[in-house]
């Protein structure tokens, strides 16, 4: 079966794409997370967002930006940088062209999450197209806003199953004058120990990551301030302050490891090192956030799910193990109400079949 490809360029086109078709639809962005979570079932229609691009509203003085959801975040960052601003978000796959909407839909995050959270913390508004073509707006263009339900958050992590994110509004932050990285080579238990010391200090790291043998701590601020704190951090953990090129290389290696991981996990930060040790494989650990990734052989994935579940955490694959092992290590506690939300917003279960495997009872109800 060859799927019909629809690539709308604006909201009207996005509305028509869903209102004017029937049957299952796969929403696809830059396809940088195509292998994440459950495998999408082949759908007769693919809604491709790669042409749904462009900045809609940007007033630097308000520090908010509205974009079409297919805009690659990398390109948006370049434009914002000319005004000294950024979306304080640095997931590894941004460098591979991931779209702003795709990053929201997959609940991705990067090292900066320690200070700024994930896209859910940065999205202040969205325009969503539901499976029946309904266009619904949520939030707005102001940072502070409690009017109505925050549907942008509901779409965060929805993997294209609840609706199409057509436009999103993001909160921005100033690009700091300086960024410094402190590095210490060492095994995970040592890194975890040093990380605890860093977190107990008043040095305010924005990132605190162990990447397969290397602990990286980043601070941002004024030039003098960041320098001073980096030196203090180096003393505290017994590491060294990296020059700009070395820092860039170290973080690029970090991103590469994340990009090649097979499972992403999240748990209580203090349990992460122990969990990863049990998982085996090559690991990256957000020691302040509790979010990490591991690259393990397909036959180890089931064991990873078990280890994480036993520690009260969550796990999802980023590479299909292809041996009958589930993509999701756990089911949400509120699955019944989540299914009710799915049934309300997409009663025909058109969108994103397979991403959550059988959570919504797909196989039984409709195939």
């Amino acid at each position: 079966m060859t799927a019909t490809m629809l690539a709308p360029t604006d909201l009207r086109g996005a509305h028509e794409a869903l209102a004017g078709t029937s049957g299952p639809v796969e929403i696809r962005g830059a396809a940088t997370a195509a292998d994440w979570a459950g495998a999408p079932q082949p759908a007769p229609t693919v809604l491709d967002t790669s042409r749904l691009t462009g900045v809609l509203a940007y007033n630097p003085a308000d520090m908010t930006v509205g974009v079409r959801a297919g805009t690659p975040l990398r390109e948006l960052q370049q434009e914002l940088a000319t005004h000294g601003q950024r979306v304080a978000f640095d997931a590894a796959r941004v460098a591979r062209g991931a779209t702003a909407g795709g990053l929201v839909a997959t609940a991705d995050s990067g090292p900066l999450a320690l200070a700024y959270g994930s896209m859910r913390d940065l999205v202040i508004g969205a325009t969503v197209v539901l499976a029946d073509g309904t266009v619904a707006r949520t939030g707005g263009h102001v940072i502070k806003n409690v009017a109505g339900y925050d549907l942008a958050k509901l779409l965060h992590g929805s993997y294209g199953t609840l609706g199409l994110l057509a436009e999103i509004v993001l909160r921005l932050h100033p690009i700091p004058a300086a960024s410094r990285t402190v590095r210490l080579d060492g095994e995970l238990p040592v890194a975890a120990d040093r990380a605890a010391a860093v977190l107990a200090s008043a040095l305010e790291p924005v990132s605190l990551e162990w990447a397969d043998g290397t602990l990286l701590v980043r601070v941002e601020g004024t030039v003098e301030g960041a320098d001073a704190r980096a030196r203090e951090l180096a003393r505290l953990i017994g590491g060294s302050v990296l020059g700009d090129d070395d820092a860039e290389a170290a973080w690029a290696r970090h991103a590469e490891l994340v990009d090649t991981a097979s499972v992403r996990i999240g748990c209580r930060p203090s349990r992460l090192a122990g969990v990863l040790a049990e998982c085996g494989g090559t690991a990256v650990a957000g020691l302040g956030t509790g979010i990490g990734t591991v690259a393990v052989a397909p036959e180890r994935v089931a064991a990873v799910h078990d280890v994480v579940t036993a520690a009260g955490g969550m796990s999802v694959t980023r590479r299909r193990p292809g041996n009958g092992v589930g993509a999701w290590g756990q089911r949400p506690s509120a699955l019944r109400v989540l299914t009710a939300v799915k049934n309300e917003l997409d009663p025909g279960h058109r969108l994103g079949r397979g991403r959550f495997e059988a959570w919504f009872g797909e196989e039984e109800a409709r195939s």
Binding site: N145, A147, H156, I291
Partner: protein
Amino acid sequence: MLDAAVREALTAAVGAANIVSDPVGLRSYECDGLTGFRQVPSLVLLPTDTASVAAAVRVCHEHRVPFVARGAGTGLSGGAMPVADGVVISLQRLRSVVEVDPVDRRAVVQPGVTNLDITRAAAPHGLYYAPDPSSQQVCTIGGNVAENSGGAHCLKYGFTTNHVLSMTVVLPDGEVVTLGGDSGEQLGPDLRGVFIGSEGTLGVVCEITVRLLRVPETVRTLLADFPSVTAAGEVVSDIVAAGIVPAAVEMMDNLAIQAAEKAVGAGYTLTTPAALVVELDGPAAECGEQFEQVKAICDRHGCTRLHIAGDAAERARIWKGRKAAFAAVGRISPDYIVQDGVVPRTRLAEVLGRIEQMGTAAGLRVANVFHAGDGNLHPLVLFDADGGELERAEELSKDIAELCVELGGSLSGEHGIGTDKACSMPRMFGVDDLATMDRVRSAFDPHRLCNPGKLLPTPRLCGEKPGRYRPHPLEEAGVIERL
């Protein structure tokens, strides 16, 4: 009226000692902080644990009895106002701090714990809970979750939603679930995110795990006077343009200052047209460097007096003046209405000008206190109910909120929609937007038992045709479109 069988079942659910049914007792639950909306409930339940909340909700669900969760009742949008023939579920007896974990920097608390008590419990570890509504001494974390409450320091640190990791929630049919988890990682869509700020319409939150932050190394606070509100507004813009993210930037106009001074004598200048409170926090050296920049910006815009807090006591005094401003207007006016709207920060001067004109036209005074950093206004409409001004004041206040929407902002920055603004929602959202929100509500609460009549407009409340939707300014400019 509730029938005897329902009363009996509810009594069994929470225990006879945890029920209020006498008329005098019930009266004290008839409204929240927005006292204009009143309704005496049929029964008030004061459950002491999650299991009895769930049991009570199951009884309500089975018998189709509407229920309203209630924290401290400080809400300002009529969110906790009871419904006729319904019950109130007060969370006041669920007030223990279950755990403070200094290593993973989080606390597990019951919903009736006050916002400030979380910080008190965390303080021995050098940690604190960041969102700080002015009502923090009394308002509960359960209420904060329901309203997605903010505070003066939310410009830098974010709102309740950015600080809640997970929650135990009793859904409207009595099922107990966990929303969120131990890290930011999610199992699918973020139901936690949609629950926070849902104003008690999607369930009852019974336990909350919040993030705690390390107390910053330094805090620097200044109070600066300006010859005009516009000049003060330009200072805020320049601070932001300089790449500084202040912990807080608060503005007060002359009327608000006069009121606050009369009430608490915090040392504000009685004659200044406008004053700014700017607070920076963080590592000492950087904080100091940026503080000098802020001072220079103030000077550049004709600052007429600059007072720097020399110590914690002086800082507390500055904040006392700011935080007292709401209640203090009672000293300069027999009655007042607190409004809560948001505009893009760059339109502050414009909105203040318009508010002044509208006030003059209505023959009423409006005092302004606001979170200038994020464009969140709290205009205080002053009036005299005995002088028959109530209706005009309510009209003016509503018009101000709707003006905020017209300028590209929001009907509410932190107080919520509740009963008060439900009928204004169609000014901000289109029919399909509201219908989509209603679909989500249906998924959680198909029988509309959980805080019914709040948040979304209903024909009963607003008439068959609630106020006409006005296109968003960006829509008119062709920037966004509605199909």
